[in-house]
């Protein structure tokens, strides 16, 4: 009897513990990782060649400047990596901002051996067609399982070309991403203006500033995308700043590509900007507000462009110089539908000349799947490079030489990142839920390949730069510049480009339906 009971209880224990192991959440992922690496190592040991051993060096390329305390954080990272079963060595190289994409091209041209790099979705079709980066699907299967599972498929789709994934996307709210303005909330309250929901409200705010705050410029000439919410929330395959040769209306079932510059949307935007300029709400000279961020932070600017996360990123610098000021996001016509046109922006890609793609992907997988590793890589060593106040992050009191300003936005993850103490928990909550209720436009995943029409695109770019910038700054009267602009666009070949966009769009839709 006792023996049977003993056997039974042992069996039950085994069952229970295996169930526990199977259901373990983040706490168990470390052991899972070890398990994986162990498995891979074992397979290597048994002579199997399918799964590559994860080891060696991962050479990472990022923009900007090396953080001052990089050496220490790097060591801490490598220690933690090997403790977690990934004996990788890391090497960081930083390229200056202005020449970053040039340097990426040069690396590809001369075949230098780097592994991981920051890239952006807007360059994706070029760097893929020029074979700068490699498809990641295979290595995600072997070394990036957690990544694959935790990032929604819409994001993967946006980082793919022809159904192959070319970059690991960030996980941030993406609906209506750049269609925001940010204003001085404290000033709005000072003049008893209601919360801004319509264009009329916004213009009233600008007018009030103009009349009552003589030292301030109501708005610089960079805030255009927010107006799309008013005049036409459309998808622009090419063109970040609220203008591009073609557009698609997401509500249009046929997904027809139209000429953006011939549309009423463009006309309305230009007329609105012109009105703002004539009313003195925008600068008279193009260079008057050379640095809108600095102007905002110093109380010279009352409104600026924004995106979903931007305010949380600006707030620290803002509060330093204007502790009483408030930054408020403005999102016109909040009742209109909310679209997701692009679910990816910043990416981490692997070079086609990389010699350690498995290591690169494993590394990203590692720090994106645990809070601790994420914090280590993004912010540094706790209490040495940064301090945590609850979950708010701060660098007050940290010595200049101990700072670790890393370009964490290149792998941002809304579930894991820390915000500054100036960002309220309610705001964080709302950001995490921002994409809920948003409609995924059926154009999601489409990437226009400009190669077949690159000569026309180059000419169109030149024409656009000449006329659109001035128009969006309010310098031009629509009826005056439009005929010339249109004829130049036509001779640059805009019809050919629209036709090509349509052709690619149709092919995209067809391939989705398969």
């Amino acid at each position: 009897m006792t023996k049977k009971k003993l056997l039974a209880s042992v069996l039950i224990m085994m069952l229970l513990s295996s169930l526990l192991a199977a259901c373990s959440g983040s706490g168990g992922s470390a052991s899972k990782k070890e398990g994986n690496a162990g498995e891979e190592k074992n397979e290597q040991g048994t002579g199997g060649e399918e799964k590559a051993q994860v080891g060696g060096t991962v050479k990472i390329v990022l923009p900007g400047d090396a953080p001052k305390d990089l050496a220490n954080v790097q060591k801490a990272l490598e220690d933690k990596l090997s403790a977690d079963g990934l004996p990788l060595k890391l090497e960081f190289t930083y390229f200056p901002w202005d020449q970053y994409s040039n340097k990426l091209n040069l690396i590809a041209a001369s075949g230098e051996k780097y592994d991981l790099a920051w890239t952006h979705v807007s360059w994706l079709s070029q760097i893929v067609s020029k074979h700068v980066v490699a498809p990641l699907d295979e290595w995600l299967e072997t070394n990036g399982k957690d990544l694959r599972a935790s990032i929604p498929s819409a994001n993967w789709l946006s980082a793919s070309i022809d159904n192959q994934i070319y970059g690991i996307p960030t996980l941030v709210p993406t609906a209506e991403n750049n269609n925001f303005f940010a204003i001085r909330g404290d000033l709005r309250k000072k003049y008893n203006l209601p919360e801004i929901r319509t264009l009329a409200d916004f213009e009233h705010y600008l007018d009030t500033i103009k009349k009552n705050e003589p030292g301030m410029m109501p708005i610089a000439n960079d805030g255009t995308r927010g107006l799309l919410r008013e005049f036409g929330d459309v998808y622009l395959p090419v063109g970040d700043m609220g203008a591009g040769p073609g557009y698609v209306d997401p509500a249009d079932a046929e997904l027809k590509v139209h000429n953006f510059y011939e549309s009423e949307i463009f006309k309305n935007i230009v007329n609105t900007k012109r009105k703002w300029y004539l009313n003195g709400w925008m600068p008279k000279d193009a260079q008057e507000i050379k640095d809108p961020e600095a102007a905002l932070n110093n109380g010279k600017l009352a409104a600026i462009w924004s995106n979903v996360l931007k305010t949380t990123e600006r707030i620290d610098a803002f509060k330093k110089t204007l502790p009483q000021g408030e930054l408020e996001d403005v999102y016109l016509n909040p009742d209109k539908p909310k679209y997701i046109f692009d679910a990816a922006s910043n990416l981490l890609s692997v070079f086609s000349t990389s010699e350690n793609p498995e290591g690169a992907v494993a590394f990203v997988n590692w720090f994106r799947s645990q809070q601790e590793s994420y914090d280590l890589f993004s912010y540094g060593v706790k209490d040495v490079n940064y301090k945590l106040d609850g979950s708010a992050i701060s660098v007050e009191g940290i010595d200049e030489q101990q700072t670790y300003h890393q370009v964490y936005w290149a792998w941002d993850d809304i579930r894991l990142k820390h915000f500054s103490k100036h960002v309220s928990p309610e705001l964080i909550q709302s950001l995490q839920k921002w994409d809920e209720g948003a409609i995924e436009a059926s154009t999601l995943g489409f990437r226009f390949n400009a190669d077949p029409v690159k000569a026309e695109m180059a000419q169109i770019n030149a024409v656009e730069k000449e006329y659109v910038d001035a128009a969006y700054a309010g310098f031009s009267e629509y009826d005056q510049f439009f005929p010339k602009f249109q004829s130049k666009l036509k001779s640059a070949g805009i019809d050919k480009v629209i036709a090509e966009m349509q052709r690619q769009m149709d092919a995209f839709v067809a391939s989705k339906q398969k």
């Binding site: 994409s101 091209n105 590809a108 041209a109 360059w123 070029q126 760097i127 067609s129 020029k130 074979h131 700068v132 090419v238 008279k284 000279d285 193009a286 260079q287 008057e288 086609s352 400009a450 690159k454 000569a455 026309e456 695109m457 180059a458 000419q459 770019n461 030149a462 730069k465 000449e466 006329y467 659109v468 910038d469 001035a470 310098f475 130049k488 001779s491 640059a492």
Partner: protein, 304 residues
């Protein structure tokens, strides 16, 4: 062949002296030169320069078929010609002027002060120009205000800008050129001036008949060298002054700024290479012509 060997042998020390220099040019300039083939290919990084597909003149299309080929070429040539002519006249004038100043302390001080703007980076120059010409607080408009003249919207009026660009060029480069011309003047034999004075010539006549003619070889060389690059626009300075202000493109858009703007978002390597080739070939033909003309006048002054 035999003639060449004979020449190399008889002047062997000369050629030996030139060898290290020639080697440098061979290695760093000529060996990479086959890379110009990129202009005729649809370059991608996997196939490299020699493996990428050949597309003939297609990369030239975006520039020559557009509306801007004529305008940008004209602006480039016009602005550069102005730089050469105005720049040289003013620099030579100042070199002569400085040479006439007796006290060496003042002469040296002036020379040093004139040289200062050379050190300003293009970005800073752009800021200074804005300081002068902005419509609200710019110094030029404040000055006009003093004279009871209406202010001008400089940054919306393309007509003034060639003059402004030339002004900036003179401001920035005169010091540098003066050093050069002064070095030549200083090398002129004093005896020539003494002999002229004995013959009753006054200062102006000496300058006209001694200084200037002896400056001509230097001026010729500097000008010919500049002419070779006359199809290359002054990208750094012009871009930092004009930036993305389309209203000024009519007169200030040069080949290089246009190509930069057009290709920036397309990310292509072959298209700029094609235009670069166009600029090289045209400049080269131009200089060959000018050199030939100079040779006709005085064989010694020519470049080659």
């Amino acid at each position: 062949m035999k003639g060449m060997f004979k020449e190399l042998r008889s002047n062997r020390w000369y050629y030996l002296m030139a060898l290290p220099g020639l080697l440098y040019f061979l290695v760093f300039c000529y060996l990479p030169l086959p890379g110009v083939l990129i202009a005729f290919k649809d370059y991608n990084f996997k196939d490299g320069i020699f493996g990428s597909p050949w597309v003939g003149l297609q990369n030239f299309a975006f520039y020559f078929q557009g509306d801007y080929a004529w305008r940008t070429t004209f602006n480039t040539l016009f602005i550069n010609a102005n730089y050469i002519v105005v720049g040289t006249v003013i620099a030579v004038a100042f070199a002569i002027l400085l040479n006439e100043i007796r006290t060496s302390f003042f002469r040296r001080t002036y020379q040093s002060l004139m040289f200062l703007p050379y050190f300003f980076s293009a970005v800073v120059v752009g800021n200074f120009v804005y300081l002068m010409f902005s419509s609200k607080y710019g110094l030029m408009n404040q000055f006009r205000d003093l004279l009871r003249l209406a202010p001008v919207d400089w940054y919306s009026a393309p007509g003034y800008w060639v003059t402004i660009l030339v002004g900036v060029y003179v401001w920035k480069n005169t010091g540098y050129a003066v050093i050069l011309y002064l070095a030549t003047i200083v090398g002129i034999d004093d005896e020539l001036y003494e002999a002229a004075a004995l013959d009753g010539a006054n200062r102006w006549q000496s300058i006209r008949h001694i200084t200037l003619p002896l400056l001509v070889p230097t001026i010729t060389i500097v000008t010919l060298l500049a002419v070779g690059k006359i199809f290359y626009g002054d990208f750094q300075t012009i871009y930092s002054i004009v930036g993305d202000n389309g209203l000024l493109y009519e007169t200030t858009d040069v080949i290089d700024t246009y190509v930069f703007r057009a290709v920036k978002n397309v990310g292509d390597v072959s298209m700029p290479a094609a235009v670069g080739l166009y600029q090289s070939i045209c400049g080269f033909l131009f200089v060959l012509g000018c050199n030939w003309a100079v040779k006709k006048m005085n064989n010694d002054n020519a470049l080659f």
